[in-house]
Symmetry: C2
């Protein structure tokens, strides 16, 4: 029996990274031997003359501009990620969820994906509920939940699929739809037959093996395929050995790895793995971990899986079966103990958790095991999507910074995504707003909760300003309710924005209603917990950005002030009718976030793009009405106040180009307030009024 890791590379090995062996190359150099090293070949993909493709087309391939600049993590397929983690000896985990029954359950589950995704699972998987219309477009279907996890939560996801009693056409249809939605991984299962008198069907799907073969036949190598393993044998199998042979057939048919059914003793799993290896199953085998979370759920699961709970566990549980907390604590303790044994065996690197759609127990287990790692380093400053079409995407307009799911939704029909440079943005077609209020884009708060936060009754524009300041300060409003979100910001302020809280508070009080901002960053380490992103060892930068709604009176004065800040400050000012003023004469995108990393081209993930801004303003203005005004009765004063702001205010964005200097945008707003407070006297001549002596912003010197 081999002593190697349980997780062994699968046959679908397409590993192409470059593990250069220094000592090898080194020796050949010392002796000046002309020797073509195999490793070197892998590296350069070139013969010793350095020529390649010399007869081919030169640089026409669009591939030139689509090299992923960032971590392989975003572009590798699951089985490759798994192998890379295995080879590096990392421990990792994955999480299983089932689809919810109701739309509000779906909204909650998506929030859970975001929270549990932050701990760094290698993947999540979504079970297939044949009775729940699993392949439909319903917001609760297995298909749509898995799609949401991939596209909007950026999670590597496996969709379960059962084939029992299904036609090939139906299965192919599901797989085609999954592929179209960006799903790349399938857990191929037979599923429970409907009725007890199930019999094999000639040419039909009788076993999971048939489904694996079908997927490989119809979709070649597109999907990574996972199959189920039964550490104590499948309940319907004639014998444990017979079941192992079935598992071998599934793997031989093209499965990439195995996730086991839950088990209660580590020996069960470790023996199973040994037996698998003994009959030639070499692919990764992930133990299915089931933290006991309650008496009823344990009973139910055991019934479904036809497993027996060991006596030593039942003896502990029975006496505390009505004490949920006690059972959960026991479950956590028992699971941590099992996982430790598995990991310490040296044969297990990844743990697969049956979460039962709950987070507390699993997160606690993972924390105790040291596997829950909230890495402050994000691959990019914004929330990425895991759709394969978007794997090279690394530039987005800043406007959707607080609404990444909305941006992903509105750009889902794009054929390709900006990579390296935003470029000429005259062509982007953003999705219309009319079909836009999907369940996963809805506010997580109820109408009642929103009314409490944003005011049961608005009496003036000023009362709107107060909602903004309450949100900024994370303090209760005058009715005593904390304002946790705004129509443009579904989450509390980002830590980065917190750095500017006092200044934001001050300007919002006076009707500069900020919805998006970022401070100046001049070369912070890429692993900074607040502003860092990208691979380690790099430096990140930002130009200060400020975006807000404000009245036309303020804009009139602001434009006078902005003349003094040319060309340091770029601005775009637009109202709901599209009346637009800008000093970006050539209408080029302005990079406002970028990073410099070892051995990489520059990454500039966030731009202020003048053309996209016109699409964003439609959304930004619509949110006043759709999310806020519609909370109130038609024709009610509250609704009229929001409507007035929607109709008359301008949306302004400002960029301070001089990132090595102190952010001047607060000074711009201060100057505007000063001019509003001390308006110059009307002059009879054409000469614009002189302003009182003020510090000239252009006399600042770099602080470095």
């Amino acid at each position: 029996m081999p002593k190697s890791s349980i997780l062994v590379s699968s046959d679908h090995n397409t590993f192409t990274s470059c593990p250069l062996n220094h000592s090898d190359v080194h020796c050949s150099m010392v002796n000046n031997v002309q020797r073509v090293d195999d490793n070197w070949r892998t590296c350069t993909k070139s013969d010793s003359s350095g020529k390649r493709n010399s007869g081919g087309e030169s640089s026409k391939e669009s591939s030139r501009s689509s090299t992923p600049v960032l971590a392989a993590d975003r572009t590798e397929r699951l089985r490759d990620k798994m192998r890379r983690r295995t080879e590096s000896g990392d421990h990792w985990f994955s999480l299983e969820f089932f689809p919810p029954r109701t739309a509000s359950g779906a909204v909650n589950l998506v929030s859970r994906f975001d929270r549990m995704g932050s701990g760094g699972p290698l993947f999540i998987d979504i079970t297939w509920h044949p009775a729940g219309d699993p392949g439909s477009d319903k917001e609760t279907s297995s298909m749509m939940i898995a799609s949401t996890a991939v596209n909007y939560c950026g999670l590597e996801s496996i969709l379960h699929l059962t084939c029992c009693n299904q036609t090939k056409e139906t299965i192919t249809g599901y797989l085609s739809k999954a592929k179209h939605l960006g799903l790349k991984n399938i857990m191929a299962l037979r599923g429970d037959p409907v009725g007890a008198d199930w019999e094999e069907e000639e040419g039909g799907f009788n076993y999971a093996t048939d489904l694996v073969k079908h997927i490989r036949c119809e979709f070649d190598d597109y999907f990574d395929i996972c199959v189920a393993g039964y550490p104590t044998g499948h309940p319907e199998a004639e014998s444990y050995d017979e079941d192992l042979r079935h598992l071998k057939e599934k793997v031989d048919a093209g499965a990439d790895f195995i996730i086991t059914q839950l088990f209660f003793r580590t020996d069960t799993f470790l023996k199973f793995v040994r037996d698998c290896r003994a009959i030639g199953i070499t692919c990764p085998i992930l133990p299915g971990i089931f933290p006991i979370q309650g008496y009823q759920s344990l009973k139910q699961l055991v019934k479904l899986s036809k497993l027996e709970v060991p006596e030593e566990i039942m003896q502990v549980i029975e006496p505390i079966k009505d004490n949920d907390a006690a059972i959960r604590n026991y479950g956590i303790e028992q699971t941590v103990g099992m996982c430790r044994v598995l990991l310490e065996s040296g044969n297990v690197l990844g743990l697969h958790f049956y979460t039962l759609n709950r987070e507390v127990a699993t997160m606690e287990v993972l924390r105790q095991l040291g596997l829950w790692i909230e890495d402050p380093r994000r691959p990019l400053p914004w929330a990425v999507s895991a759709h394969p079409k978007r794997k090279v995407e690394d530039v987005r307009p800043i406007f959707w910074a607080s609404r990444p799911k909305s941006y992903i939704y509105r750009t889902q029909d794009w054929d390709d995504f900006p990579n390296g440079r935003w470029g000429n943005s005259s062509s982007p077609a953003f999705g219309e707003l009319n079909d836009y209020y999907l369940f996963y884009l809805k506010s997580k708060s109820s109408k009642d909760a929103l009314l409490k936060m944003w005011g049961e009754e608005l009496t003036s524009e000023q009362s709107v300003y107060e909602v903004f300041t309450s949100y900024i300060k994370a303090q209760p409003n005058c009715a005593g309710h904390k304002v946790m979100c705004l129509p443009w910001n579904d989450e509390p302020l980002a830590p980065e924005t917190n750095l500017m809280m006092d200044k934001l508070d001050k300007v919002n009080r006076r009707g500069v209603l900020t919805i998006n901002s970022q401070p100046t960053i001049n070369g912070m380490p890429s692993d900074d917990p607040i502003v860092g992103w990208g691979p380690p060892g790099g430096y990140v930068f930002q130009k200060a950005y400020l975006e807000f709604f404000t009245s036309s009176e303020n804009v009139t004065v602001l434009l006078k002030v902005l003349k003094k800040y040319e060309p340091r400050v770029n601005y775009h000012i637009v109202n709901v009718h599209g009346q637009n003023t800008t000093n970006a004469h050539d209408m080029q995108p302005n990079a406002v976030t970028w990073g410099i990393f070892p051995g990489r081209e520059i990454v500039q993930p966030t731009v202020v793009d003048p053309v996209s801004f016109m699409y964003w303003k439609d959304e930004a203005f619509a949110l006043w009405i759709e999310q806020w005004a519609k909370l109130y009765e038609d024709e009610s004063p509250s609704r009229m106040i929001i409507k007035y702001i929607h109709d008359n205010y301008f949306l302004v964005n400002l960029v301070d180009n001089d990132f090595p200097l102190d952010n001047c945008l607060w000074q711009v707003i201060d100057n505007m307030f000063e001019l509003l407070d001390n308006p110059p006297e009307e002059q009879p001549t054409e000469q614009p009024a002189e302003q009182p002596a003020e510090e000239s912003p252009v006399e600042d010197q770099p602080t470095k």
Copy 2:
């Protein structure tokens, strides 16, 4: 008569920049009027709803990635540049040259283009010599000289073309060839008929007008067309008025602007312009300025152009006709005076100089007029090409930094050029080296001069090292000759490199033969006279780079040292046989020069690209043999020494990724020398020898 500038926009007006009228927009805002401003339309190319192309293809167009990031200067056509300069009220100049007779004359003329190009001419033009096989591939032909000016010197250029006695097929052939070579501007001339008994030919090219019509007919609007004006009337014209009517015909046929024949009195030109305007010629009219540079050349030119030299000039010149310096000084003084009058008239913005292929007089006139402006700001850190195919090019590998003409030559067949990002470079097909030693890529020095600089006789590798150090220090070698160039560097050290002279000197003495390097730059202003480039108001950055040849013994030790500098330092080490060692595991390009500019995406013009490096190493190693070894007799000791280096040394490049810290590459080399001087004793175990205590480079902290 209109009092407007002589330079009036032509009919081919395609101006699309965005002169936003603040006060207009402003008013409409104050009054909250919903008004679609024409200026605004120009800016946003959007209707008031902000929607555009909503039904069209989304982002498939490759145009997304080809927006020019930098100044319009690189992408505008000549007539647009001219109009932009005119509208901004700038004064500018242009320069006329004729093709040389000999190949060495061509090499000299190309150097002159580089020198005179640095003063900022709006364009140069190359005359057409019907007797000199002007459309051929000969290195002295009008066609090839103009092509060289555009492609290799990056100069906006006009090719003259005469049509007299030519078939339409021949002319179309010339124009097609010019277009293929990247020429965009034609000076359309009739030319002197061969023989005195010339007669009009039915359907042939009888006048320049016919050529203008032919160009517009066959090439639509591709070329900008210039035609000649005769301030005193064409010598063959029936009358001055008749000649003006011919000029009007040429313009009406599609010419974009006029350059006049030389004249000796400003009144002649100013009257001519008034007369042109009076009959409806509205295009720009550039005065042809002829600085008198010698008695003979004046006589000859006057004879050719059938002009009379005014009495007041002859009276000055005749007495000093044998004193070249005196005549030239008089010519400069007289020309400066004339130009001042023209410029002060307010009717002349651009001056066109007949240089006679000399530089002193014209440069002196331009300096006295304040028009010779050596702007330290370059559009990009490297020498750009003016070929229209390359107008969006803004990324190149650093390896060709000292050989931009070679890079342009070896990539001339590419269909498009990297823009914004180098990307996946596995596809570039670099031109072969075998057809590479073209006249304009040859060393400017003779074999004798090279032998004096690089040694009549080499006695050891050490004597090669001394050549490098003499070059670095710009000091005489042991034979007393200054070393002004090396095979890899045709020019003296760049000012930027001068900053590192002492360190370069030190390492070259010990056989680290540097051929390319740049210091760390952390956010210098873009208008810095030494390291600046790009538009004003930006900041430029560099990662330190060092490239050198060194012995395999040194490389062996260097690799040990480099392990201590991972991942801070990236390296590529290769010998002539292609044996390659690198720690760039994923073989991505590494951006080593970049700039951040107001209202722009990031520009990263220089990368270290692992794949291109393999093409560069072929060139870098070949230069040892082609330029140096071949100076010596076959089998001679000198030649064998160079051959030995070629066969056995390695080409090394190093990048220090930590640009905010002090450059560590010198420390790397120092460590290598220390380890060479104090080799660790051989250890019997497999454990590599411990090095003496040294400062760990990774403990450096950012200096900001």
